[in-house]
Symmetry: C2
Subunit: 478 residues, 2 copies
């Protein structure tokens, strides 16, 4: 118990200092290490295993809908980055520039990709000639670099890992449908695999991606009421195609510009998992992406037969879940705390008396509920309990969002809510940038999205009093 207490005491309580709690968890759960370059991170095996599980889920879904992976270069020549005006304005201030190669001073600077639209467009111009070449549905897994001033592991780092999908289509309708389809993939992954409820919606012009006609987003609420943009999907119209001179011969034998999309989810989502589900004992992982779903802890392991039984169970369980046994000579209490810190969804305790009775104890990470289970029922009970953990996490996160979502019909109310509460504030909006800026300046809130599920909260924009066009969600964001 002393051991356990020591570990638990070593993280800051989330109610005392949420930011410090977050930093403590990423370090103590061994997700990351700091890199020798400021603002970069090393993703350690446990963090990497979570990302690999997320990758696998996404990659299968992308492939099932006809997408193919490609590998694009790391470098973008400065002249290529500059081809699309809005895009370069958005990204040029935050890129890293390579100016020297070997001993040679380069005649043109190369930027380390902050995102790869320009590279994909240049490639599409080579490979798209006829409507028969369309669509091209591509994705790549890679890291990108953005020169950030303030960084935090997973949430904002100079280098981060992601997938970026890039597609090119014959018609605007097809490209729009792709944009929405991929947003729905992200929403499904967040909700059904990561147990993170999300709001699907559209970004305002101010908040959309540099160069996009429309940006769609899935927005999640963290435990502290702040928003985290969990993935985005962009519709480009034919803007990039025109800038990069991508043309194809259409069914009418005329030359046309195709329509493009891009969409991405990054290692930020691990930050979202931590801040949605974690508690004062550490990480709490959704079972679908937990590197270890069940940790077996032998109790009184020096007694005859205990380690053997633990190993026998591990082998049996490995047929249907990701399981590990901790046979180290640390105390059971130390081990309980250790795997709670690491967010393992289920703990299986087995000692001499359990063995005699042909049973074991299963403890849920999310609500600490313990169940005594017959050993010959594990095959059905464990999947049930993993599902229960998932559902429990989802429900708790949804309830947190519901409790922290407010509506306002006057600007005074918005400002009061913004200062007194931490959460989402839903209002009507006229659609003008001016009002959006005013909300930022006077209430410290940014627009998260105009949700797909539009609400009628009133007829006018609470900021300017003009007729309202949309309902919109405001919040403070990571």
């Amino acid at each position: 118990m002393a051991d356990q207490k020591k570990m638990v005491e070593s993280i800051t309580s989330m109610d005392v200092d949420f930011a410090q709690w977050y930093t403590d968890v990423v370090k103590k759960a061994e997700l990351v290490d700091y890199a020798p370059v400021r603002g970069c991170m090393i993703v350690r095996p446990y963090g990497c295993a979570i990302w690999e599980n997320i990758q696998k889920i996404l990659d299968e879904k992308f492939k099932a809908t006809g997408h193919e992976n490609v590998m694009m270069p790391l470098f973008i020549p400065e002249s290529l980055l500059q081809k699309e005006k809005d895009h370069v304005e958005g990204f040029a201030p935050e890129v890293a520039w390579v100016t020297t190669g070997g001993a040679e001073q380069l005649s043109e600077r190369l930027c380390v990709r902050p995102t790869s639209e320009t590279l994909f467009c240049d490639h599409f111009a080579h490979v798209v000639h006829s409507y028969r070449d369309l669509p091209k549905l591509y994705n790549q897994w890679c890291s990108v670099v953005r020169w950030e001033k303030t960084t935090r592991p997973f949430l904002r780092t100079m280098e981060f890992w992601w997938q970026e999908g890039h597609t090119v289509h014959e018609t605007a309708e097809e490209a729009q449908a792709e944009t929405r389809q991929q947003l729905e993939v992200y929403a499904e992954v967040c909700e059904k695999y990561l147990a993170i409820p999300v709001i699907r919606g559209r970004k305002t012009d101010k908040e959309k991606f540099a160069g996009a006609e429309e940006t769609y987003t899935v927005e999640a609420m963290m435990h502290d009421g702040k928003a985290l943009q969990s993935a985005t999907s962009h519709y480009f119209g034919d803007g990039f195609a025109k800038a990069f001179d991508i043309t194809f011969q259409g069914r009418d034998n005329q030359l046309h510009h195709p329509y493009e999309t891009s969409w991405g989810m990054s290692t930020r989502i691990i930050g979202a998992i931590i801040m949605t589900h974690g508690d004062d004992n550490g990480l709490v992982l959704p079972p679908a992406v937990a590197p270890i779903q069940v940790i077996i802890i032998p109790v009184a392991q020096h007694k005859p037969g205990v380690l053997e039984k633990a190993e026998e169970l591990r082998q049996k369980l490995s047929a249907f879940c990701r399981v590990k046994t901790d046979v180290s000579d640390n105390s059971p209490g130390w081990k309980y705390a250790e795997y709670e810190m690491k967010g393992v969804p289920l703990r299986l305790e087995i000692g001499p008396r359990d063995i005699e009775a042909g049973q074991c104890v299963l403890a849920r990470r999310d609500n600490r509920e313990k169940t005594i289970v017959k050993l010959d029922e594990l095959e059905t009970k464990i999947p049930e309990l993993l599902q229960a953990v998932h559902d429990g996490l989802y429900e708790r996160a949804l309830k947190n969002r519901q409790n922290r979502t407010f509506t306002a019909t006057t600007f005074e109310e918005m400002k009061r809510l913004a200062s007194e509460e931490s959460g989402f504030i839903e209002t009507m909006w006229c659609g003008d940038l001016e009002c959006e800026m005013k909300v930022k300046e006077e209430a410290g809130l940014t627009s998260r999205c105009m949700p797909d599920e539009q609400k009628h909260i009133g007829d006018v924009c609470p900021i300017c009093g003009k007729p309202a066009k949309h309902s919109i969600i405001w919040g403070k964001a990571y």
Copy 2:
């Protein structure tokens, strides 16, 4: 037939110009596109799918032997790169330097990783404290950059993709065993999956990795007799650990430096696959990594029932192999040539008469042998034929290597063979750098390795006449 001829004529024959044949194949089989940055490549979906299959095989083998994946940063501060003297000497001349981040001129240049020993060492220094922390068996999948003057797709590009394993151990023996174990993984993957016979051996001091005590290699011979280093595995002793001040408390309660290894296989191996197995009709892919293992070509597809049967077969086959049906309106002849170019191991032809007879034709890509197979025997015949293609490719490659491997006992003979033949030349060697340099200058050959299977070809070094220490293999290399 006109179509087919047109496609086949469009690649250069390998006997006329092997280099041009190679370039033609990588373009026509749609493996790569040229990138906007000189010397970089875009790996297109078909090339990427081959790499993903190789990745999957390697990743499973690494994990089965206890290795864990991590993600390390892209950038290395100049001061960190300089910590190990031999290492920096080897790599500094060929790295890309980031000097500007956003608008800010950096106070210290960052190099884009050419390899990540320095980053892993810095991290090991943070996480290794006690013998209980050892070993750490890490791997990462990423791209690295080396500023090359002359580049060719897959074989030598400024940016390439690879995995780099980095491990740290309590004892020299353990680290040495790891180095050899991983070399054997590479050898097995080359031989049992890629159908590329390899020679396992040790590099000379001149050819070893910058900073390594020993470099082990698997060397393959390409169709034209030139060598391709297919993967390497390095033993570092405690040199890096000393340079980076990695220490651990040993079982004796004293501080010790641990022992390290690294090992890697890269997208170069796709070049090896192309040049080992390809022919004048294009790519020939080993079944284990072919994105499409069986291509179904409907014959007279406008006739009733043909497309339905082709689709029925595709569904049936997809349970046990990677299969695709080409239902486009191109002629069967055009399709035959197209999938030969793409190296698909087996072609399944099915037309109205076949359907009536309850059979189909299976054509092997490697030797063009055709077999008539009953439709209800496909489940056993296809795996058999895929294995036969693998075996056929391996045997042909082995025979090529045997035919092009020569032994020499005098320097005159070495020089004559080097000028008249293209292949491996095996001789004895005294072990002196001076003789190795002389072979390079006068015969134009580099040492490939001192093979594990040492031969007794004579007692003296044919270059200097001093007593021989090793048998060694010389060649011209990609």
